[in-house]
Symmetry: C2
Subunit: 391 residues, 2 copies
């Protein structure tokens, strides 16, 4: 079976773009990716998006963005898996290319959140939770994560200060990332004094609300990838080895263990096995840190830390510059930002650039393998992809 | 590259199911498909759905239905392309199986429309049109189709009576279909006296609002399909030869010709070419007749009738029992019903049963090839799939 390669990436800066429609953000990212790939154009477009139906009253988003970007006619559609939509778009695009259904596929994600007021966007994001068994009773998405945070802190004896080290570091990384929504450093004091959203989660423990779009261009076969490399002058190829997706319940009340994201465990194991790697082989990671707790739980459930140990290890300097793996040098969802349906595609673009060595922010130590982890809900769905540098 | 076969199909009756959640409808269709396939279980689930975000305030629909049906853990996600969501789910599932990403994939569609009042559901369905350039100005989805109907009638000199022959015939076919929402015959008089929705479209010219779910189970390779055949006792295999998708603009004002659905033309040509067939080779068709005009335009744009001739040919008895192709013996969207995101999967299930010879309604004349045609918006997106009977 032919292998799949990423030949181009494109991102918009994440921010508040009142003046831009989602289709404009998407077109910007798509054409950046096409330019990055020396002009290779997509034969199909997969769009990860969560909220267009509710916040823009717009379905048919795939066709809309394709037409606006100049690709009327091309197969184009939306995939939705809440905040994991981008990762699932990558899974879909990987299959389209690998199967030969299309030779070149643009996998994109786009989200436009900032035009809605806080209540509206909070309700829209809560649709990742169970409408009947959770949201109906008034819980927000931050509320669900707050309960898990408290349980984690109580179970493993961590303090607010301990958990706050993650966002502190993310803001440092993000300060180097020209695409980041919050490209500035912060302090532990600022984090701990920021407003409580849902105890114990404070404003600076959570990803911001932002608009943005990202695209990666996939092609089938090493020959085609080398051909593109000749045009772009890149010797280094990046292979998308595999994408695995797994699910869990939507409502958390029926889970076996609130402190284990089983879909993340499943997707990580599956992706590593299909890529012929073990967790120790991974050099670089972009993981889904929508809240501080999500970062630590992800490190544990992906297999990088024993349960309950991620905070301690991070405090000791693990997962940082020079370690294996290095994690979230983009600034993560916390500082790079989290335009929900686009986040998984941002992660893919960042992983590819770190492998190529041309990420314009905080640079990884010449990684050869990278893993990305994107979830929807409290890991109701998890997508894990593995990338390899190929000389 | 391995071929893709359909080894099981399942459908719910279409109707008003106030007492059932979408996940219950989906699980019913999925388990019928599993039973039909002798117990083969999916390794991935693709869900075509349009309105869950707006009418159910529920995202993460893929994981929700998978978990409820007993498949927690399995990759499961939603694809959205308005009323063409089911066809696009089939496209996605086809790629997942063909690529080897999953060996057995359940492609399903589900829609729950009847709990909302008329205004709410009309607004939800209008999201298939352009929010900024069409819906903002007050047009409904029926309104857009009414304008095309009028243009078609004026251009080709047809009357209300002429166009009403389609729904008349569909109700006759539908009266034999146990899954149909409106399994009863009608009369030309009843059609022409039914209330005007948007001149010239009357109630009986349009598909009803309904709830329903359908699933088809895809497997990779003839060997696996034969294996299932041994269990189910079926000698006849049904191959899903190909699925093609194409797009057009969302807003109709920028189209070259309002009477040509270019995405349907593109998808039909592509699907036939990939299947190694011409339009003359197709024995059986299920096409997307959301309104009377849509049926005739589809016959023309798929390639079965010259432009402007479909009504005349249908009046002369073409596309009916004993002709080639035979069309919409399910009763079509008009009488079988149109649970929007599920419609494309109903069509697939019906085509498969007609090829196997076990469709429980109005039977085709032993077809060997079948084509289905599912669109979103006014063919903003079109999915065309070709199935073959394999001895």
């Amino acid at each position: 079976m032919d292998r799949v390669f990423v030949v181009g990436v494109g991102m918009t800066k994440i921010g508040r773009f009142y003046e831009k429609h989602a289709k404009e953000l998407f077109a910007e990212a798509l054409w950046k990716a096409i330019d990055d790939a020396g002009g290779v154009k997509p034969q199909a477009i997969v769009v990860g998006n969560m909220t267009s139906s509710v916040l823009m009253q717009q379905d048919s988003l795939g066709a809309l963005v394709a037409d606006y970007a100049g690709f009327r006619g091309v197969p184009a559609f939306k995939v939705e898996a809440a905040c994991g939509s981008g990762g699932v778009a990558l899974y879909t695009g990987f299959a389209l290319v690998k199967s030969g259904v299309a030779d070149v596929v643009a996998v994109g994600g786009v989200e436009k959140l900032t035009e809605a007021n806080t209540e509206t966007v909070t309700r829209a994001l809560a649709q990742a939770a169970d409408a009947d068994y959770e949201v109906f009773y008034g819980v927000t998405f931050t509320g669900l994560n707050a309960m898990i945070s408290r349980l984690y802190m109580n179970t493993f004896n961590y303090t607010d200060e301990d958990l706050s080290l993650w966002p502190l570091k993310m803001h440092e990384y993000g300060s180097y990332n020209p695409y980041a929504q919050l490209p500035r450093k912060t302090t532990l004091e600022e984090i701990l004094n920021s407003p409580l959203i849902a105890d114990p989660i404070r404003l600076f423990h959570a990803a911001p609300i932002g608009d943005g779009a990202a695209v990666v261009l996939l092609v089938r076969g090493e020959e085609k990838a080398r051909e593109v490399g000749k045009i772009t002058g890149r010797d280094t190829l990046v292979e998308l080895s595999t994408v695995s997706v797994a699910t869990d319940s939507v409502d958390m009340s029926t889970r076996r263990d609130l402190l284990t994201m089983e879909s993340t465990v499943l997707a990580s194991r599956s992706a590593l096995a299909k890529a012929g790697l073990t967790i120790k082989d991974i050099d670089y990671v972009e993981l889904h840190d929508a809240f501080h707790i999500t970062a630590y739980a992800s490190l544990e459930d992906l297999g990088f830390a024993p349960k309950g140990m991620a905070v301690k290890l991070f405090k000791e300097g693990k997962f940082q510059k020079g370690d294996k793996p290095e994690v979230n040098f983009s600034g993560g969802l916390k500082a790079r930002g989290h335009p929900v349906g686009a986040t998984g595609v941002y992660q893919a673009a960042e992983a590819v650039m770190q492998l190529r060595g041309d990420f314009p922010g905080f640079k990884a130590s010449s990684p050869e393998t990278a893993l990305i982890h994107n979830i929807g809900g409290v890991s109701t769905i998890a997508a894990v992809a593995v990338f390899k540098r190929v000389k």
